[in-house]
Symmetry: C2
Subunit: 192 residues, 2 copies
């Protein structure tokens, strides 16, 4: 039995419980209740299972699941970065990299490396898996905002052009989901 | 483009948002805040990723992930069943099966069938994947209760023998996790 590994893994499992306290700007469907990062990550994982067939390119579903399950864990230390926060840049920051090293560093070394690599691949957004994972991450708040009379777009007065710019990466992961998205955005912003 | 499929899938993605409102009896680590089913499911998925190497038998990790991600979705209609509720039986009830048919039935037919099959395989608990998924589902509240001065065991006055009986299935999924669990239970109930 690998007792030492097991103790490190349990410590990590306990540490990541904190993701349940990281509040996002977006709210649940038809709701005033903010979503937290753990709920968000579960929802993205379900979306991967359900929508994988719409990926532009063949994808390793297990890898995409790993990406969406862990993608926000760095926010335990670094905090949630709101997509439309203009004061922050959104490329993975030093702060996030230090967080990844600390939190994934709780695990046995081979798992530390695996999780950091997967997180970096997601952040980079170049592989087919990362593109699809990012498509899910962009799509989910659109669906939520649509159910909440514009949600964060209305609340923070975000323009159609800004939203379009931020979410157009959806196209890289799935053309069919992008077609749906553009028609939803047009409707939301009264451009139909 | 499969527009019809996509619309059904989006409807399902919206419907399962309700899992975030299903409150469990157990609480977050070192906390008074109840956990909800979506957070719980995310946490189990992370545990699968981290602990898979401790499975007694080789497992298809993707399938185990599917199981833990969807295993509680029926509770949107059927409600949370508390492990130590003596007034309910815990084999999958008619109510849960009807819930599975309604909720997974929102999806395109091939996905409806896939999700019901995976949920039933989990409930049955016989395959290697189901055994390991159930091991995660039994383990997580033990870790939480240990961090909360006995948590639900103390709150609902559950005896060592009852806990032991309910969680001994952990052994079927992982001998090494079971060894750890028994020593934790012995400590929690002052049997060392
Ligand atoms: Ca984020």
């Amino acid at each position: 039995m690998k007792v030492n590994e097991l103790l490190k893994q349990f410590k990590f499992i306990k540490e990541i419980d904190k993701l349940k306290y990281i509040q996002r700007k977006t709210k649940l469907f038809n709701s005033d209740r903010h979503e937290n990062d753990a709920e968000h990550s579960w929802h993205l994982a379900m979306m991967v299972l359900v929508l994988a067939e719409h990926s532009n390119e063949p994808i390793d579903v297990l890898k995409v699941l790993k990406m969406v399950l862990i993608h926000d864990i760095v926010e335990i230390d670094a905090g949630d970065t709101f997509l439309y926060d203009t004061t922050k840049n959104h490329v993975n920051t030093d702060e996030e990299f230090i967080a990844a090293q600390r939190i994934f560093g709780i695990l046995p070394p081979n798992q530390t490396q695996e999780f950091i690599d997967i997180w970096l691949e997601f952040e980079e957004g170049k592989s087919n898996e990362a593109k699809f994972a990012k498509t899910m991450d962009r799509l989910q708040p659109i669906l939520q905002n649509r159910s909440n009379q514009g949600g964060t777009w209305t609340e923070f007065n975000v323009s159609y052009e800004t939203v379009f710019e931020k979410v157009k990466g959806i196209q890289k992961g799935s053309e069919s989901i992008w077609q749906y998205t553009t028609s939803e955005l047009n409707e939301a912003f009264g451009r139909n």
